[in-house]
Amino acid sequence: MKITLKINGKMRVVEAGPGEILLDVLRREGYKGAKFGCGHGFCGACTVLLDGRPVNSCLLLVGVVEGREITTIEALGSVDKLHPIQEAYLDAGAVQCGYCTPGFILSTKALLDEKPEPTEEEIKQALDGNYCRCTGYVKIIDAVKLAAKKRKKR
């Protein structure tokens, strides 16, 4: 069946099976920043923003999100011009294997869009759906604080 999605600001008509999940459709359409980690909504490697809020795209049937706005990591910065949150993740040393990074960055974006100056508790709360084994989260939280600071300066 044909499904209309607004992906990163552009209307897209995609072909999808009735039982297909959003993650598989996005990856097939070339939005590969969203990763498969568990398939059960635990790890957040598949995080995308749905109308600005982070969701696990591995749990969403594509039909359910018809017509809604999806933001993937591909919408943030480009290789030439990184988004300030992406800069902050690099400068804080918050990236190791990188498999979780797109999900974390999107969750960070949603948080900072809503709360430009989050407390540490609010950061931990907002990122709690994203799993990372490499960093122990310490530098990820540093990155969110740094991103908030960068945003304030601009």
Binding site: G37, A45, D91, G93, P102, D128, G136
Partner: protein, 771 residues
Amino acid sequence: MSDMRQFKEVNQVRRRVDGVGLVTGKALYTDDYDIHGMLSAKVLRSPYPHARIKSIDVAKARALEGVRAVLTWKDVPRVIITEAGQGFPEPSPYDKFILDNKVRFVGDEVAVVAAETTEIAEKALLLIKVTYEELKPILDPRDSMKPGAPVIHDEPEWRIPIPVEMDPKKNLCGRADVTIGNMQRGFSGADQVFEHEYENHYAQHVANEPHITISYLDPQNRLVLISSTQVPFHVRRIVARALDIPVKRIRVIKPRIGGGFGSKQDIVTEPLCAALTLATGMPVRLQLTREEVFTSSRTRHPTITRLKTGIKKDGTLTAIEMEVLQNAGPYGTHGLTVLTNTGSKILPLFRCANVRFNAWSVYTNLLQGGAYRGYGGTQSGLAMNIQMDEMARAIGLDVALLYRKLHIKKGEGSPVFAALGEGAEGHAMTIGSCGLAECIDIVMRESGWARKRNNPGAGRVRRGIGMAVLMQGSSIPKIDMASCSIKMNEDGSFNLLCGATDIGTGSDTVMAKIAAEVLGVKTDDVIVYSSDTDFTPFDVGAYASSTTYLSGMAAKKCAEQIAGQIRSVAAEMLEEDATGIVLEEGKAVGKKGGVTLAQVGTRSLYEKDQHQIAAFASAYSDQSPPPFAAHVAEIEVDIETGRVQVVTYWTATDCGVAINPLLAEGQVEGALLNGISYALSERFIYNSKGKLLNPSFGSYGVYFTRDLPEIKTFLVPTYEPSGPFGAKSIAEVNINGPLPAISNAIFDAVGVRLRKPPYTPEAVYKALKKR
């Protein structure tokens, strides 16, 4: 600190060289490769812990539309292998066929299907009819060597390629028995003798990217594997053996890897994926589900350790006897070497004249052990550090002072280094750098140790503080080899190709920084590519904390050769002697002036005496200098629920010169939090039939951001004379601390001694009730 000079790139904070691709989501992991016509593979797994396959009927599965191949043990070469991704000959038993007529744990491979879609492959699995003859399983390692125990490996092909003691008829797949000094004299000279049993539990690595391999045939009919692996060269060798094809027919590409922690040091998905490509001639993708990663990849070996130590009133150790029973699971991957490392990663840390390490690794029908960050050091770090705390309290000495008195120092050796190596004897070594005394001072000072110790408070929530000290190694001496190549381009940039396998650790950045330091250029003037068995020179891979130390050494040697070639060309250009020319800030500078590296590169490729400035170098070490660390955990215990929470955790680590301080701290913190959640939360729950009941993120118990305590990380700089620019390793050592430090802190808070993690509320509550 000697030999420390002002570095330009090394030890400076730089962004990781691969960072932009990672934060933009553009980096290509295995699953991101699209290959036209790729089939999807699924594995049929055993429901029984121990059974023989009496018959297996795949006719219906093969007949299903969209199914391209169904393979059982009858369809693959009957070649015995080990799946342990170790150097050759492997110190792990050859005890595995890629598919067999016997299954040895719940989750073992029975058959594999390739189909046009995942759904069809899953449907086909349901159509395979298997008749099993159930065999009595061994579900407790204490039963493995009892007379009359079932024999898990009765296949006549079983063998061990190195001369060590193993006996599959007794389910024995690893043995070590080493005595230094005289135990009887040692114990009789003690004022007090302590003896207890400690037991660490199973754990899974839980890398975010599940195991995955894509295989296809290239136009020359060569087999190409894109695989999420820590060991591309070992994959090539073992897949060649398993499928009975020549090494030269195989190319292994390591793309971006989503974490490993040891779980991808083994050959897990590669042989079956490749077998399906050979059977169909088509590209195939085999990715484990998260459940399969838990049930059927690798785990940390559970170990029962009986530790007996003799001590004098002044804190002198008179004897240490460590007896270890390790549960290897159904296949002996890394069993022997984790076993010997259980001794060798803690016993040299404390001065003691009389030491015995007596250990067994045994087969069971539980989950398969393998390499896991810490590699034995986690197991013995638990026992040794808890017993040190017990002894210090008994003799009335602060454990921190006991550690300071006993720990190995710079310039000292330990007979254990020579006695215990990788499954066999080791190599004598003198410690060239040790910052442990300073590490202990830092964590004491920063934590307020003296003030907080023995001060639990009253009421429902009690506070406690505990310590542990640790060591690891840096590469496997006289076994590991790393190499790299560098070539120069006309703009003064360099391509560095290495087999060193960046799995997220930042090793590409480490290699670039080391080469840049030698060549007098910026880190981003060195373009690193890792790894592809067709193009990059050999490296054993990402394990044994070897990359920064050994692969870094190769990068340094190689860059030095390149620097020599650049100086020769520059000498001709400047018309002066090469020896006086230095490389700095992208220039070759002599007495009379300088030329840019771009001028040197352009001349060498286009203008005069044209040649490629290029070099290869290999590194090999006869030593494995340990990084050291001191840990302090401050915790709270709720005495009504048994809940333990880490409030603050301090670590101080001596990794020599940190090549990239920010990445080094990241290694500390990642290892630490993994250790903390292992101590408090992560666990496997089996039913009575050996089936894992909690194979998921949610029920296994990994930590998320809300579980994160306050973490304070300190790096203590030393200069390791044998390392590249003074560096040692850092990746593993800090996972070993939380098991003992938290246990010691619980004792400090509530006076109960927990020797068997995880310290779950139930376990702590029960212990409190027994008090």
